[in-house]
Amino acid sequence: MRPYRPPLVLLSHLLVVLLGVVGLSACGDPKSAVAQHDVLRAEPVDLTFHPTTGKLGLTIVNTGDKPTAVGDFRIEGGDWEAFRLATAVNPTVLRPGERMHLELEVDATSLRGPGGERRSAVVEEVAPPEIGPNDYRPASAHLQFASAGRVTSVPLRFEDPSWVSTYLLPALAKVLLLVLAFIMPVASLLTWLERKQSAMMQDRVGPNMARISIGGLTLRLWGLLHIATDGLKMLFKEDFIPRRAHRELYTLAPLLALVPALVVFAIVPFGDALCYGHLLDVLSQADVDQCAASRGGTPLQVAQIDVGLLFYFAIASIATYGTTLAGWASYNKWAVLGSLRASAQMISYEVAIGLTVVGALLVYGSLEPHAIVRAQLESHWGIVLQPVAFILFFTAAIAETKRAPFDIPEGESEIIGYFLEYSGMRFGLFFLGEFIEVVFVSALVTTLFLGGWALPLGILGASGFTSALACQAFFAGGGLVLCLTGAAIWRASKHAETLGALLLLIGSVHLTLALWSAFTGWGTALPHLAIVTIGMLTWGIKVLALCWLQLLIRWTLPRFRYDQLMSLGWKGLLPLSIANIVLTALVVYLLAPSAPVGGP
């Protein structure tokens, strides 16, 4: 066993931090992307119109420290005649921090047809090209306004991108990113974590034997490679179908269990919105909102549909068919028993889930998950506003995953459950579907109650941290946690020294950033890419933490008896969620600013 050498570790990391501070200070004051002399800022920095968009708002905010007169609004540029101000704007004086709102609209009919040819000189007789009802040429202009002798201009653009480039390609990219880079790796990781974490909780060693040799270097990675060995084992096992089973339904059932679990992820927002063209710029919330409307960007959510949560309920109930059909098609009385239990349980708990969500919906006023997260950012996280709903929803959602302590459909100790006859990768699909559901429950709880991609207390806005102090607190706290974890892991075993050193290094970088922020006040204006990355990492960490919590619950609590399960669902969760709805509705009714006195 190598002796632990704290002075060397500490010294090396202190050195890294010091070098970082010196190096960064040498770089001088960071350049803010918003120029210092530019006291009037437009939000968003540019306006993009599509043929279907109506009026678009533009906010002019005075970021300087003295009142500034604004006036002489006009639209100039190549296609100035297509754009116009929707409302009359009068010259005014903006005090520091004051905002001025204008609305612009575009006359799409004047932009019909192909672009350049119409204005060029006609040399030879050419038949004018066919102009379809939906053909538009791109147009650009800019809105100008004068303030304190300077003229500021805001670019205006009109474009008619194809459905493919606006919706299909971003959606495909997001699906691939979400499924290949998050869901599948995390679900596979959970198959390992399930065993390793339970081992650690029960003072055992857990899986650690799968290893791989690369050029004489043997990697065991705490048994992480069991993910691969399990997959290989599943693929090579005999694919057994009972002789009297219903072959078609028997094949269909695992798919019906797996596919809905993947499909429901479409509604989960894993970030605010990504603006392709402004990755390195400092953006305001208005810019991000424009990107979220698919004008020059894309919302970080596969499908932004208004009925979001209803879509989840609809798709999730299809998964019940998977379990029910699996048991029925197997021609095995124990499997049928398991599938009956599964359908009974899922029906009971879906009622509770639905009614629990209603309370949250009353508060947020929307069914669309992206809007729900935004509503939480504007007030408080759901866990603060709806603590009872959080506990009820989390309980019912864990019951929906059919895992202990709600593993009645499987009932390992009694009936082995609805997938009793399945073997090989068919069983693997049920298994994987179960873990994907665990990830989804975490993602949904994160979205509904834990503020989605947001950092706590709203310290990270769309353009950066709300104050330098928030930035320092974030980086110092994160760096401290990372460094302490890294040091603990470094000490824990000599196999983990590399990982511990890596964590220590990342933590040191965080601490360096905190120090840098303390010296320079850096952190209030961050590039869009950094904001999006922090948001997505925050979302991922929240989801992973909830997955860990679910495994902790699964390996701590004893399982329910069948009647206890039903009485908890119908006599516990259901009345409580109805009470929650009534109370929430009352409070919302009384607190709503526009509450009519005599009733709705």
Binding site: M200, M201, T556
Partner: protein
């Protein structure tokens, strides 16, 4: 006389019926174990003996008195210490030690011409070690008899047994009559 029935009343306080405090307590206990075992040196409370794992030295897990495969010790000049007294083969309950005695060329003592132990018959009782008067046979190798493809391979001869051997600090043949003079305190039976 009536039959006494002991009624056990189940007192459930409000705290018990809500379940949540108890659940939280349980979760905290599990989480404490999790973090102790992952974050502290030597895997915290995990007491598992990692027997047989590839990069684990098995010998550190065996007690000092563990009886493994036999070995024969040798003298300073490298020849075997055994004097072919037949004590071990006599005391062996499994009758698995076969010794053929011969005259040693260098001095008056006997020595084994062949010394064979059938490890398949051995019951690992350790009586041979206790019987040996000159510290020639030992079982402190901390090795199991490895499985073999053929029976003959499990029958170990003098060369194999000595290949695990080492020099002994005991005086060859014991001290004899000089023992009381040299080390009176070593054996309580001899008294003051």
């Amino acid at each position: 006389m009536t039959i006494g029935v002991k009624k056990v009343s189940l007192h459930r306080t409000a705290r018990d019926q809500v379940f949540l405090p108890a659940i939280l307590e349980g979760l905290l206990t599990s989480a404490r174990h999790f973090f102790k075992n992952t974050m502290t040196k030597g895997m915290g409370d995990v007491d598992t003996i990692r027997y047989g794992e590839p990069d684990v030295d098995i010998k550190t897990y065996y007690p000092d008195r563990f009886r493994g495969v036999h070995r024969l010790m040798y003298r300073d000049d490298g020849s075997v210490r055994c004097v072919a007294c037949m004590c071990c083969s006599t005391v062996c309950p499994a009758k698995c030690i076969y010794i053929v005695a011969e005259d040693r060329q260098d001095n008056a003592e006997k020595g084994p011409a062949s010394f064979v132990i059938d490890e398949l018959k051995c019951v690992v009782c350790g009586l041979c070690v206790e019987a040996c008067p000159c510290d020639a046979i030992r079982m402190d190798t901390k090795q199991h008899m490895t499985p073999t493809e053929r029976r003959e391979d499990a029958v170990l001869g003098k060369v194999e047994l000595m290949s695990r051997g080492g020099p002994s600090v005991a005086t060859q043949g014991g001290l004899g009559p000089e023992f009381r003079a040299v080390a009176p305190q070593a054996d309580p039976r001899f008294g003051q």
